[in-house]
Symmetry: C2
Subunit: 462 residues, 2 copies
């Protein structure tokens, strides 16, 4: 019955005078379907609670590949397939230990190794520790850090309402802190967790040694924000105190893994491809329900809703579940590589990789004409309290896509709680609200639909 | 230093050409203060974790009165005082028990007595139970419910993005279900909890027997949504099954309690009063962190921020922490009664009583001229992602205020999770996010400031 109604509506779509009202009706239907009969929440429950953490190269990451492929196969899409990609295989090993050693008093603090870090010697490292707020401050210290552990302790700025700005401003400490400290002869790097909350969770995340020769690599770990506060306070009282940490992580040989791809083939211009996706891999400390289990199941829900309503897209709509966003970005890069080989034409890509919270809008990567065109859809989203359509980074996986004409967007959920969970042991299924997740899926479906219906503005031929 | 800067800005306020830019700067400062040095979260921690649930008439409600008064006294306001008000004193008594009795198989289900309900007989009630979706359906059954328990099972509609609409649509079952069932000779009423989630928490809330004589009162309780689903399924298989429940709640004599009031006296038109408030009482099943501990501490934060910045309001800004919103509304009524006696002139009232979630906007109760005027402030709020300024109910405590010229508004936080916690045992401090709470306080401060600066549109004299 519902199918018939929708089909009638679509038949009317050719009539410009009815177009807006039909779009409104269809978007209303997408939200209704998402809030009443979506599968994204139960998919995520399985992904999180039955499969668990999905770090690239792990058995559970491969399990997630097979599970999501099977689920996509139940949807009646035109194609479902895997795309091979070699991914890094870093393993954490034994749980890390760390303590502050202050006049023979040991105080244990929670740490976790950062991605791609090397291990400490088996017995751990004990050394003086020197606090800095920035890489600039480190460089000014020069030789003084030699033989010591460097402690990066610049907190995320609480003043930004958009917490991703604060994350990006503080991120260099985690990404390059160890590399820069190693260049000056430090023996280890401890980085304040990238979280706006004071708590006991260390937050992992990737770091890189850049071009350093391997023998200069030093172990790098994140410390919980409470731990960082305590360490900083202790250092003010006793700058000569020592810090101990021990971790046994290592990088194993690369592993064959996969992007998971499903497709609704276009009925008018199948050669024009629209991507909707998130990333299948997660960090290893929890099941990654927000990062990015949410984005994965929302992207699957987009094609499920459209298919269930018997929607016949003009363009090819492809759901892509990328592997290895967290520590290598190999899935995104491989997708683009294959796409180039096949001379595919991508017109649009949408990523959800900012958590499963209430959708607030989209960050849009486009020229002014397309930005304006998408902003012109704002009224459609107002009934659903989706209000923010701004220029901004779309997503790490789709940043590899470089077709000349492509327009990209990222779902922008409410960001206040995201960094409470990000890359930490509490990014678990119980941190997900079913309705917030579903509203995100409906919001994504609506934008995919509007762009499929109305296309993008092509650059003027020169 | 910061004080000096702000004062300079206010001196400039007289210059219309700079007005907008000063307002922008001041609002930015309110958000900064809220996100970096607010006290609302630690106040709420005390209110929730040290004092706990605050049902009207309880010792802890009185403790909350004294605590918030003491805290307001530390802020250097011009006045802090209590306003006497007699409140109902309903007590739950022993924990309720209930089970489905289906062919001698007992299945325990979670229930809780509804506010103002009478107890069951000491041994409990066992009776057949009949499911209805509405009071209308009940009335059609007529005599058939005699001697039975009536089970109201119409779920909140998941399709509304604004969950308060669904709450209001389903609320008659809880509010009047027992009264209507009693009129037809039923012996008890069991109401599906008003929540959008399937879980095991029964959600209490007030109900009324209307004009029924006391001897006709029947006990009323809420059942968890999972319990309601199970009961409904069981009834489909065996319509003759029985239901048992037992509760020992009672209404004791009224108790003297208080509204807590603090004031920054106006410097230009002190006779014009602006209220900002929430309600101090909560239900008894948890500490009521969202309902309405959040609104209480946010309202206190508004005057704290303004006072700390040495802001000299044109009008009198009064923070009012109302008692007894949940089961009587006596605090709001008393406040209006006293205000009328004193011939006070209220120009504006703002209530926060929709949870401590990310602020999304305001619901505004005003004539078209004032609605338009407030909507004209939207641009000020856009940097903080506060986008929704719509006509709507402001708040239960301030609904008593009836000055001819008053404009009223309610803070409108994100509502997706509100009914997961509302009136249930999980409405606790750990469900509060510090930043979301603080953003609400900043948003409220900004509106209070704008209205203090710019006034309201007075009705044309006739």
């Amino acid at each position: 019955m519902k199918k018939t109604i929708l089909l009638t509506v679509f038949v009317l779509n050719g009539l410009t005078t009815f177009a807006q009202s039909n779009d409104e009706k269809n978007i209303k239907l997408f939200y209704k379907k998402a809030l009443t009969e979506a599968k994204c929440y139960s998919w995520l429950e399985y992904l999180s609670n039955d499969i668990g953490s999905r770090l690239s190269g792990s058995a559970s990451a491969e399990e997630a590949v097979q599970y999501t492929k099977r689920q996509l196969e139940t949807l009646g899409l035109d194609k479902v397939y895997l795309q091979d990609v070699m991914v890094p295989h870093w393993v954490r090993g034994e749980k890390e230990t760390a303590f502050i050693l202050d006049n023979k008093v040991k105080t244990v603090v929670p740490i976790c190794a950062l991605g791609a870090s090397v291990a400490t010697p088996k017995a751990g490292i004990t050394a003086e520790i020197i606090e800095v707020q920035s890489i600039k401050e480190l460089k000014e210290l020069g030789d003084k850090v030699k033989g010591k552990i460097v402690f990066y302790n610049r907190p995320m700025n609480p003043e930004n309402v958009a917490t991703f700005i604060s994350y990006s401003e503080a991120g260099d400490q985690r990404r390059s802190g160890a590399e820069e400290a190693a260049k000056l002869g430090a023996v280890g790097a401890i980085v304040r967790s990238l979280s706006l909350r004071l708590d006991d969770f260390p937050h992992t995340g990737n770091q890189s040694y850049g071009d350093l020769p391997k023998e200069q690599y030093i172990p790098a770990a994140a410390i919980s924000t409470n731990g960082a506060e305590l360490l900083s306070k202790s250092l003010k009282k006793n700058p000569g105190l020592k810090f101990f940490f021990k971790q046994s992580c290592e990088t194993l040989p690369d592993v064959l893994s996969h992007n998971v791809i499903g497709e609704l083939t276009g009925t008018v211009t199948p050669e024009n491809i629209m991507v909707v996706g998130g990333h299948l891999d997660s960090w290893d400390l929890a099941d990654g329900s927000h990062d990015d289990g949410a984005g994965v199941v929302q992207s699957m829900e987009v094609v499920r809703i459209l298919k269930n309503l018997n929607y016949k897209p003009k363009n090819t709509i492809r759901v892509v579940l990328f592997m290895n966003e967290e520590n290598g970005g190999k899935g995104g890069a491989k997708y683009e590589e294959v796409s180039k080989e096949k001379k595919e034409n991508h017109i649009f890509a949408l990523e959800s990789d900012s958590g499963g919270f209430t959708p607030r809008g989209f960050t849009i990567e486009a020229d002014d004409a397309n930005l304006k065109k998408i902003q012109g859809y704002k009224d459609f989203f107002e009934p659903y309290l989706v209000n923010t359509f701004i220029k901004g980074h779309s997503g790490s996986d789709i940043e590899h896509l470089t077709s000349k004409t492509i327009v990209k967007a990222g779902l922008m959920p409410d960001s206040q709680r995201y960094f409470d969970y990000h890359h930490a042991a509490n990014d678990k299924f119980d941190a997900i609200d079913k309705r917030e997740l579903e509203l995100g899926a409906a919001t994504m479906t609506s934008l995919i639909y509007l762009i499929d219906q109305n296309g993008i503005v092509l650059p003027a031929a020169n």
